[in-house]
């Protein structure tokens, strides 16, 4: 699965996700990617693109849960995404997210996630695993 989230300097948000699904999936199987609120979601608070085991992500309404925690519970992007990913079954979920004020979060509970991010302040990251040894600066 691939995905991208972005926010501009005015707080406008967007999310996009695309996938081939699972190896050896049944013909006709639908995953989380096209289910709005599961693998992909954006509102005025954040934009989210998820990856992992689609069935688990659909059950967790991952994307919408992140947005709802920010909107109704006042959580930061980091706290909201950490809560959602930590409460998903281990080994099933990763996501990238940005908030309207330019925060970035990329948590996962799998062994790794191919990911990259950048912010206007010049910070950037390209990584696969959690270890800092896998992080490059642009």
């Amino acid at each position: 699965t691939v995905g991208c989230v972005a926010v501009d300097g005015n707080g406008n948000l967007a999310a996009a996700t695309s996938t081939g699904g699972l190896v050896n999936k049944m013909v006709g199987r639908i995953g989380d990617t096209p289910i709005i609120g599961a693998g992909t979601y954006a509102n005025s608070f954040c934009a989210v693109s998820a990856t992992g085991k689609g069935e688990a992500i659909v059950r967790a309404t991952t994307g919408r849960d992140v947005a709802a925690l920010m909107e109704y519970k006042g959580l930061s992007l980091k706290d909201a995404t950490d809560y959602v990913v930590e409460n998903a079954p281990k080994g099933t979920t990763g996501l990238v997210a940005v908030s309207a004020n330019g925060e970035v979060a990329m948590p996962f509970n799998t062994t790794g996630m191919f990911r990259a991010c950048a912010k206007e302040d010049g910070t950037s990251e390209i990584a696969i695993w959690s270890s800092v040894q896998n992080v490059d600066e642009l």
């Binding site: 699904g21 005025s44 191919f114």
Partner: protein, 181 residues
């Protein structure tokens, strides 16, 4: 407040021993796509354009599980899916069951912008793609030697895997969840 962008190329049980020849092309694509997205944001392109642009680039990379390089169904076919959403308006579009559309994310955006609907699938989505004149290719374009190998490995142990990020069969524990390898 400032611009920001984040992208992913899949999550799963990616082994720390991932061979360099499989790691480097993916890292290079991530770097190229990030640079592309940064440039678009700096040029004041709308975030919706930016995420579509970046995902198209990722779809075109055969090393990731989307577009060309999508993993295969149990009968060796490709069924791609994609979705896109704009935050302020909550406008969104999604597609699934695509087998010939080169960039499913762009078709998802067309569903959002050109139809009264949110989600088109299978034959209806393919018909819509032709009506809109998006680029299509024969289904064989999307299948790579690596995805054929992944399907062969998965079928050998009757398992459904999370895309290419899974380690090879021989690297897996026999006690792993059968749904994710």
């Amino acid at each position: 407040m400032g611009w920001a962008i984040a992208l992913h190329g899949g999550a799963g049980d990616i082994p720390l021993s991932l061979p360099v020849e499989r790691r480097l092309p993916r890292e290079e694509t991530l770097r190229r796509c990030l640079t592309l997205g940064i440039a678009a944001l700096k040029d004041n392109h709308p975030p919706l354009d930016v995420v579509e642009l970046v995902v198209c680039e990722l779809e075109n990379c055969p090393h990731f599980n989307a577009g060309r390089g999508s993993v295969l169904t149990t009968i060796g076919t490709v069924e791609m899916e994609a979705s896109i959403m704009e935050g302020n308006t909550k406008n969104c579009g999604a597609v699934s069951g695509l087998s010939t559309v080169v960039n499913p994310i762009s078709l998802a955006r067309l569903v959002m912008e050109k139809t009264p609907h949110i989600y088109l699938a299978f034959d209806g989505a393919e018909t819509f793609a032709r009506e809109q004149g998006v680029i299509t290719k024969d289904a064989s374009h999307f299948i790579t030697p690596e995805t054929i190998e992944r399907l062969t490995q998965a079928k050998a142990v009757n398992r459904v895997q999370i895309d290419y990020t899974q380690p090879a069969v021989e690297e897996l524990s026999e006690n792993c969840d059968s749904q994710i390898g």
